[in-house]
Amino acid sequence: MSLSGSQGSGQPIAPIAAVNDFVVKFANVNGSGSASANLLFAKSILRMGVPIAPRNIFPSNIQGLPTWYELRVSEAGHLGRRGGVDMMVAMNPQTWDKDVQEIEPGGYLFYDCTKPLPSSKFRADVRVIGMPLTGICNERYTDPRQRQLFKNIVYVGALSALIGVELDVVSQLIGEQYKGKEKLLKPNIEALKLGHDWAMANLEPVGLRVVRSDRVGDRIFVEGNAAAALGAVYGGATVCAWYPITPSTSTAEAFMKHCSKLRVDPETGKNRFAIIQAEDEIASIGIVVGAGWNGARAFTCTSGPGISLMQEFIGLAYFAEIPAVIVDVQRGGPSTGMPTRTQQSDILLCAYASHGDTRHVLLFPEDPKECFDFGATSFDLAERLQTPIFLMLDLDIGMNERLCEPFTWDDSRSMDRGKVLHHARLEDGAAFGRYLDVDGDGITWRTYPGAHPTKGSYFTRGTTKDRMARYSEAGPDYIENMTRLQRKFDTAKGLVPGPIIRMAAGPTPVGVLYYGSTAPAMNEALEAFEADGVHIDAIRVRAFPFSAEVEQFIAEHDCVFVVEQNRDSQLRSLLVNELEIDPKRLPPIVHYDGTPITARFIVRTIGAKLGAIAAPERVLGREEARP
């Protein structure tokens, strides 16, 4: 496999031949029913034991605009976006030219040849596979809706025949999908066979093949948003307030779905949860703050524009010390930006959200498994630290199905409700001062409203107060409070998930630091570097504040590339600001066009800088210089 990418020459070259290692991209019109057909095709390959990594590239639109589904098949288990396309299934005339251009030399172009296209529309170095899909469907079906919908299943049948996806596997998946809806099952199977048989009879096989493998194991295939929502269920969240916004909407919808199965009292049929679709993001976070103040585990889910709206409340929750969980599924900003594209561009917005001096805890899951784990943990952290916790997903993790380790849960685990004085302790005479740091960790004890008739009540406010929660405009009271809040933030360093460090095969002065959805592309890039004998140590940061290991890792290397999916190297700014590191030691690598970062990009950009930064012989494990 090449990570260097290939340059189109326009000259005829040998067709690409690859087994279980290629990229198929579907170019569709949105609203045409293609999404479920494409997913069916992808899952069939997964069921054959071959890892896949699909990505939806969709418009902010319901019907009629271009949409793509890029499916990477990778025996080696590379789950990042590779870049380049080996086979284009070009079903959208609007994007034809761009789609054809994207195919790797020697690749394949599958298209609907019912209407002939001039030869200028094709490339000499791409093998063309024409199938009269519209003609076949018009002949077989009379209902216009069926003609459109079954066209998708017909091409799934044909592609299965072309690259060796077992028809039984596809049929079984269709069976699972339409279980209990036999009326729909039969015509779908027929359409599948129609496409499959036509392709077997009329088309030559292609060089891309899927063969059965055993590389999937017990891994699961799930979206990060759904996983984070499940984490919220397991983490004991009872209140969810949200406002629809791409790409976070499916988090709330998944929470609803999970709760309706897992959180209904079997005896009364009543809900052990409350979900409010609020009037806006300000109300969403307000509801979360109110519920958190009153002792329920509450969260909201949103994206950058929503975080912008929530600023004032986030400051209140920080200053009045109220637990809250905010799931931020990041998209391209600023402003409305690229609402259906991915970025990691809310890092600074969240880290220092709201006016005045603030600092917030951020968690960076790398995949749905960590979305689940951190989703649950974030509620413990929020109540332990009595502060907002940001769970930083992005569109790439949140809205694409990703292959990941199965969810696990330790049944001996219980919720950490933090420092709460309940009725009994108040009755026993426990001293209570809401902002009194009795334990020295910056975290003070709180009470729930209604706990005790005469003890433990206090007034919560966004204004300055003294240790006993009494209003105060005195400078020393303010400074004591702000210093304690910083002490609490330092305590957080030891509570948040620590970084994951991956040392190169040999000693090296060069490191790379990354986080979140960059992980799969980085894993692949590091393998490629290692295969080339280039040693780079890697650290995956999983939270802000940065724990001591992050500082230590940077100290141990001459240079640490900071790889991010935003223009301004936002996490790097945090590292420089919080750890007082010389910025020159942290060269930024940024990818921010809205598509997920690729291993090719990382290898190319870091590769280009390596020579200038470190003497090649110190980075390379062997003598020869890099080509």
Binding site: K270, I275, I282, G286, G290, N294, A451
Partner: protein, 351 residues
Amino acid sequence: MTYIAKPQFHHPGLPKNALGYTRRDYEGAVSTLCAGCGHDSISAAIIQACFDLDIQPHRVAKLSGIGCSSKTPAYFLGNSHGFNTVHGRMPSVLTGANLANRELVYLGVSGDGDSASIGIGQFVHAIRRGVNMVYIVENNGVYGLTKGQFSATADKGSKSKKGASNADTPIDLVMLAMELGATYVARSFSGDKEQLVPLIKGAIAHRGAAFIDVVSPCVAFNNHPGSTKSYDYVRAHNEAVNSLDIISPREEITARYPAGTAAMVTLHDGSQMLLKKLAEDYEPRDKIAAMQFLMKHSAAGQVVTGLLYAEDDSDDLHEHIGTVLAPLNTLGDAELCPGSRALAGINAGLR
């Protein structure tokens, strides 16, 4: 907000309610509002209502936004948890608090700037969701804490202290609340304790969104001739449509009224509201007629007060969304965490 602790001295002969609390047990810190501020009378009415209803002080959660009115929760119910939130956003915080524990009494105190301007969106949506709460707007038509700018409830043509005339159409929060589905809507005057206390008691006993607009003159910035929110103006134009008595479940109803002059409304906690008619043609259970009446009389410059609308059999947000009876903040791991076995099933469905 500013804070002055109040001496804890109790006169031994102070009357006690059924729970053994005196009125003092419902008081808070000393108010730092201007002498004669209508808001202090409302605080006193809240204290009286809670005392009369034998409410345990700590079972009330009092929430507010920002402004003079929003400072007042510090001045009543000192044994209750209070939350002074952000400007105009009390309704969402109250909604969240209510979702977390449905067993407390939720008292939201707000002002006309807080609820009719910056927070009108939150006011609107908390009302239409039917959050079980008492929502009091202490309405003086001005921004007091920033020294006298018109608010959105100032009447068109009314004059500021500096003599400027208000050109904008006022927002009538009572009409808005009725349209949005509030199930208990009242208006009163801070200077009429006889009317206000029973209205607050009725609102507390009511289940669902109860809204009370209390005209509460600002002595510093809106109590001059030309103001329609001054003591003099409201006294001269107050048109009370009914008077209210709240009768607790254990009280015996003794009074008799001629047919058509009084109506009895039963509240969900078993209390009875006895409504005595003052305006012959006012029917508080007929929303359309009530709104017509209000529009007509308000156009004539009158301030219509009393219980303006009430639904007999109201419900609240918790019923709408089907939550369990136990407060959500009391549920533990066993009720909330589905455990590893359920997770194995979920994993199996994702392959």
